[in-house]
């Protein structure tokens, strides 16, 4: 065995005794020191614990007032629901507008939409005007048949507006002007017949007047020197106050 055998337990124990003695004599804390440290540390521990408890209570209160945080799934569901609801609302409103009868709150919106959505290509646009004029006239007849004066007034107002729009869009297209003139003449006759079945209705008189004036304007365009049509209403100053069909031109022609 060497003098410093590493595995000699006796020697190792003696070393440990020395180290323990050194530690106990020089490094071990005094009781008063440890008590002081302990008091300070536990005071801070208590303060920290109280702070954490207060924060936890505050968090609980906040959570109680705050709605549960939405998950990704629930947010998606809500967004999809909102989009669906908006789409349904839009679709429902559109259907309500496009089916609105004269006199209903959406009727003017419907007329506006139908007018602004006419095709831009000339022939298709003329055909669209023709269709709309006929629709407005049909609506007026239906309103008259049902005795709904407000619906009749709304339909005839829309009819007058459509007459003006169709005349303006016709420009100097002779074929379309001739076609429009013939159509308006038929409409005027229909309105006149309708007026005869109804008590005094200013709206229908105005429609007849507007239609007759439109025919006159068209004749001016198609035959500038020889207007042939006389407004059927009695209020046109061009008629010379002669009443229906009593114009001097016609008399002269005869």
């Amino acid at each position: 065995m060497s003098r410093f055998d590493d595995n000699d337990p006796g020697a190792l124990n003696r070393l440990e005794d020395l180290l323990d003695a050194y530690s106990d004599a020089r490094l071990a804390p005094q009781g008063a020191v440890l008590a002081r440290i302990r008091a300070n540390v536990l005071e801070q521990a208590a303060a920290l614990s109280a702070t954490n408890a207060a924060e936890n209570r505050l968090r609980l209160v906040e959570n109680a007032w705050r709605p549960p945080r939405a998950t990704l799934g629930s947010r998606f569901t809500r967004a999809a629901f909102a989009l669906g609801f908006a789409a349904m609302l839009t679709l429902g409103t559109s259907l309500a507008v496009m089916a609105a009868p004269p006199g209903s709150p959406f009727y003017n919106a419907r007329v506006f939409i139908e007018t602004v959505t006419l095709p831009s290509q000339a022939q298709a646009r003329f055909e669209g005007h023709e269709k709309l004029l006929q629709e407005r006239l049909d609506e007026a007849e239906a309103a008259a048949a049902s005795g709904d004066s407000s619906a009749l007034a709304a339909a005839l107002a829309a009819y007058q507006a459509e007459v003006d729009a169709a005349t303006a869009d016709a420009g100097n297209d002779q074929d379309w002007l001739a076609h429009l003139q013939a159509m308006l003449a038929k409409h005027t006759a229909t309105l006149t017949e309708l007026a005869a079945t109804l008590p005094a209705e200013s709206s229908i008189e105005r429609a007849i007047d507007a239609s007759s004036k439109a025919i006159t304007r068209i004749e001016t365009k198609t035959h500038p020197a020889q207007p042939t049509h006389k407004p059927q209403g009695g209020g046109d100053p061009q008629s010379g106050g002669q009443g229906n069909g009593g114009g001097p031109g016609e008399n002269g022609a005869e």
Partner: protein, 208 residues
């Protein structure tokens, strides 16, 4: 189950106390303090020159432990090792801040207020020889001795505190013990030493 002789508490009890302390149980933290305050103070006192610094740093370590405890997760890390790593870092910060270096001469020249003059006289020579022997160790060897013998950490705890492998700790300790024995002149006994009159820690079997 390994029970460190300096800490009269088994790991299961310690784990339970740590869990309670993490939940804000001040009393549980107080018991942890009672277990580790002495060893932590010994370790710190071995590395700083002034007793007041040892007291301040010991308190600082436990306050830091208090704040860091919610983030502590065992996962194989011994609590003692974790706590002594905090202590080690606190000492390093202290030394960096004050540019203070441990003087073993200063340490050994402290007078113990508790020891009697007779005891002091009988210890003085031995302690002086220990101080000199410790001074001759490398920094790593000295730290291993401080952690293993002064603070009473297990190899695993010392390894965690120093951020080294357990094998490295065993190697450093082996060489440190050999160097100390040579410096202190502790030669091998011709016959096995009889049992000590005072009970010795069972760590001998674990340590060596």
């Amino acid at each position: 189950m390994y029970v460190n002789p300096r800490y009269p508490m088994d790991e299961e009890t310690l784990d339970r106390l740590v869990a309670d302390a993490k939940r804000g149980d001040t009393a549980a933290f107080g018991l942890i303090f009672d277990v580790y305050a002495g060893p932590i103070h010994r370790f710190i006192a071995s590395r700083v020159s002034r007793p007041s610094d040892a007291e301040d740093l010991t308190q600082l370590v436990f306050v830091k432990a208090l704040e860091a405890l919610p983030r502590y997760e065992a996962r194989g890390i011994p609590f003692g090792g974790w706590l002594f790593r905090l202590a080690r870092n606190a000492i390093i910060d202290q030394i960096r801040t004050r540019r203070e270096h441990l003087s073993l001469v200063e340490v050994t020249s402290r007078e113990s207020e508790e020891a009697s003059p007779e005891a002091m006289a009988s210890l003085h020579d031995d302690l002086e020889r220990v101080a000199v022997a410790m001074r001759d160790l490398t920094d790593d060897q000295r730290e291993v001795i401080e952690l293993r013998f002064f603070a009473g950490l297990s190899v695993a705890e010392a390894a965690e505190a120093m951020g080294r492998q357990e094998g490295t700790i065993r190697g450093l300790q082996f060489r440190a013990v050999g160097a100390l024995r040579r410096s202190l002149g502790i030669e091998s006994s011709p016959t096995p030493r009889a049992a000590s009159a005072t009970p010795q820690p069972v760590t001998v079997e674990v340590c060596w």
